[in-house]
Amino acid sequence: MASAEVHDKIEDLKPPVIQVGVIGWIRSNLFNGWLNSLLTLVTLYILIKTVPPFIRWAFLDAAWNTSGQACRASQGACWSVVTKNLRFIIFGFYPYHLHWRPLLAMIMLFVLLFLSRERTNWKPWLFYSWLVGLAAMGLLMRGGLLGLEPVESSQWGGLPLTLLLSVFGLAAAYPLGVVLALGRRSRMPAIRYLCVVYIELIRGVPLISLLFMASIIFPLFLPEGLTINKILRAQVAIILFTAAYIAEVVRGGLQAMPKGQYEAAESLGLNYYQTMRLVILPQALKIVIPPTVSILISAFKDTSLVVIIALFDVLKTTQSVLSNPEWMGFSREAYIFLALLYFLGCFSMSNYSRKLEKELSAGEL
């Protein structure tokens, strides 16, 4: 009791002001030691030298919706190159009066992606809505039914093309990659060697060589008269390329599975497919989610390479705007806009993978 009274009398001593609050935080995070102080000062100096002029250029002095001539006169960034040509950049050569169709298709895609974010939605209805959604998107893009005007795939371009290549590329490469990984771990030597050769061969060459192959050689492989659409050929090249990388990631997951899992499954009398489908793959695929997503992100970025074989994806449409004399010389602004688009796509994917990883590891405990 006595001690309690004593305690009451003494006022709680506050920590010195330089150890808590803003000042304390600054001290312990920015100026602990001479090296850190120096680094902080240097970084601050660089920031002060670069950020305000950048803001000035990008926002205050910028031209937002003017003609090219007006842009040349102004000091700041010329965002007009994007705003004035937005429809061409986004939709390419798609017939002008039909732009609502790819737009609607993209909105559907985003809605579906948004719905798929929550794991609680991963139920059969979501799968069916993807099927229906993809079919509807294809119909919207292609037309020809239900009174929609048909649009040749050679007129597809811009962002819908980028998304098409990415979504189908990822969706098809994933199962193929899993099959290849299983093949590489197979006990049958012929299948194993085939898979090894395939994976190593593809991983050893740049994507651009596969795209060249798809665009200029592949037609020679086919019997005369048989031709396959240019976009589809590029799509196949992207799928084959991505699958090899996914296979390696999945193999990592398979190798990490303890042997006991296989033995337990076998002792339950499960055959190979059951073992894989019910026991091994669900666990193995789960532990490789983060590397898989980074493969998916690079596949998304790599779709930009189709520029080199003259497909009009969003990068190519931007470039053709930039070769228009009115807008020559504003590459910086246009490329920054594109970088922002890609950044949003990739960043949301990597963010999602972090979230998923957290959820899955929480479920484990």
Partner: protein, 392 residues
Amino acid sequence: MSRQEQAAASDPFWLDPGKRAIAYQVGVLCMVGLLAYYLVSNTLTNLEKQNIASGFGFMQKEASFEIGESLIPYSAADSYGRALLVGALNTLKVSFIGIILTTLLGTIIGIARLSSNWLVSRMAALYIEVMQDVPVLLQLFFWYAIFYETLPSPRQALNPFSGVFLTNRGVAMAVPAAHPCHKYMLAAFITACVLAYLLRRWARKRQEATGRYFPVVPVSVAAIIGLPLAVWFIFGAPLEMDVPRLQGFNFKGGITLSPEFIALLLGLVLYTAAFVAEVVRAGIQSVSKGQTEAAMAIGLKPGQVLNLVILPQALRVIIPPLTSQMLNLTKNSSLAVAIGFPDFVSVANTTINQTGQSIEGVALIMAVYLIFSLSTSAFMNWYNKKVKLVER
């Protein structure tokens, strides 16, 4: 046992896993073979029907196109084979320099990401996130456009330091004028490197045997810098510089780095460094704090802690992903074709265009990159084995 044998004997063959496996494999092989046969026969018929030449005979023919930059003497009168060699060397050049710069920059950013300085670590994180999320091709276009759209023509060259000129034709830099002493300096440098290596081995042996420590790093650095310098002084310290001068259309003298080369290098290095930074960070974080504390507790100096305790363990984690990043950089250097740097793909592309032999051209591209990739990974595997933990 006997029942099993009995069962195996009476079962039809498709229930025997061994035989089934053989059947599967034969089936798959047949399918692959058929597919290959189908494609090859189609190709041959197509080639024959359209009278397209095939084979690598064109390699000896005169290329009759010029190449912008080359490490070996080359003119339009040389053969396609030599033109392709020029391209391959250019690819090697950009990859080699790129790998060195990427490793340096990536390591710095990776360490910065772990810095206790909040500002520095945030900036590093921002850099990593932004650079990783923008396609490298877009970055290449961006840097290339910046280069020729913002920099002035040679006549109004920017001159930030004496001897360095920035123009839309590239960066012209002064280099020491050719002097006989350079050969000897190079020899001295190589000797110093060999000496440093021997010294390191000797010091390690002595330390293992007697426990006495020898300051290898400062001594080696001193030798590597000092020996060539000494040679330089012996020759009377020639200071003459080969300064670029504006002459005719462009700068003559010194060395000029083309905008294509710089844009390619910049794009590749900045992009790949972001990935390397993540690799380095993960590697350093994989060494538990207890290791550092233990090393300090037995009285090692901070430099020694890094050298003898942290690095050997971190490297083991870092090397494999670092290798794949280096390979990525090499493979991404093929994007040079988009901005006009004459790398292998670009030269092969021109060759395809002029000879019309696309199959041979693409096959060459694939073969060259496969050789680069396989030899790099072979070297890295060897190195990885060397630094691997020898477990008892």
